[in-house]
Symmetry: C2
Subunit: 144 residues, 2 copies
DNA sequence: ATCTTTACTACGACAGACATACTACGACAA
DNA sequence: TTGTCGTAGTATGTCTGTCGTAGTAAAGAT
């Protein structure tokens, strides 16, 4: 019976918990989960259009494509997979990778998934327009 | 004791339930609550920067500024007010309007609210960049 | 007279993101 | 040989913002 100490024992903790906040002069602007919400699916589908992939790879690709600005949480990613498979947007299949020889769960996009992606893309264009009407460029707003 | 019929008796129901979906050839692309989530506060604050206002007016201004593309739900709006007041982003005061003579709850933005708005604005710029990396322009993506 | 607009409030449900924690295996270093 | 790192996940429960539903109430329009 070991009393859990506040020592970091789990090496993968950073990935799960997200990047450390830089405490310093400048406040690190981070992408909040509220705005990305609902677009995680879109990002995953975008990557699956290029071909089947699996969790860990998708995760890395999102990090890379966003220049490290957005790191998707593991739980968010895998729950997105489950949800999208249930909705028929993706299909899973198990396969042994040629390089590691280990079994992994791959996902491929379906026709419905493509359709959903296109819808989300159109919605994005609309939403962007609307939100930008409420965003001042730097400090151009007269009253402040 | 009246058994509730499925007849629409409430005239304000449209505002609460949002616009009717146009059933026809083209599928109406609507802004989903998932992407606007978290930016309702930002939109409200943006309008309050220009001066104190109240629920109904804010609601109309959002509809107008977005050319009717986004109609905020009443419950969303008023719960946003409550939340933001609790967070210190806005202050409320009751006042009788000159025109109608009726008492209304007005809100004004605080310094903290301005700070929050600026943060959200910066976050938006970042988020937009990231999401656009995952959005293909129309059908330019090679594999489809 | 009844409908519409204005101006709210209350309550509960839902869904996506997240925190926390755990498993398992191979590589490589101290 | 112990420990850390990278890989590749699963399980479970919490939080929060949005939304559906349902009221109240008074002034103005038809």
């Amino acid at each position: 019976m070991v009393i859990r100490e506040p020592v970091k024992t789990d090496p993968a903790a950073d990935v799960r918990r997200g990047p450390k906040k830089k405490k310093g002069v400048e406040v690190m602007t981070e992408i909040s989960s509220d705005i990305i919400r609902g677009y995680n699916d879109t990002m995953i589908l975008f990557l699956l259009i290029k071909g089947p992939s699996y969790g860990y790879e998708i995760s890395k690709q999102i990090r890379n494509l966003s220049d490290g600005k957005y790191i998707i949480k593991e739980t968010t990613l895998y729950s997105a997979f489950t949800r999208m498979e249930k909705n028929g947007y993706i299909e899973s299949f198990s396969q042994i990778s040629q390089d590691t020889g280990k079994r992994r769960t791959y996902y491929r996009i379906t026709a419905q998934g493509m359709e959903y992606y296109r819808q989300k893309r159109d919605e994005w264009v609309l939403t962007k327009e609307v939100i930008e009407k409420f965003i001042t460029k730097e400090n151009e707003n007269g009253s402040c």
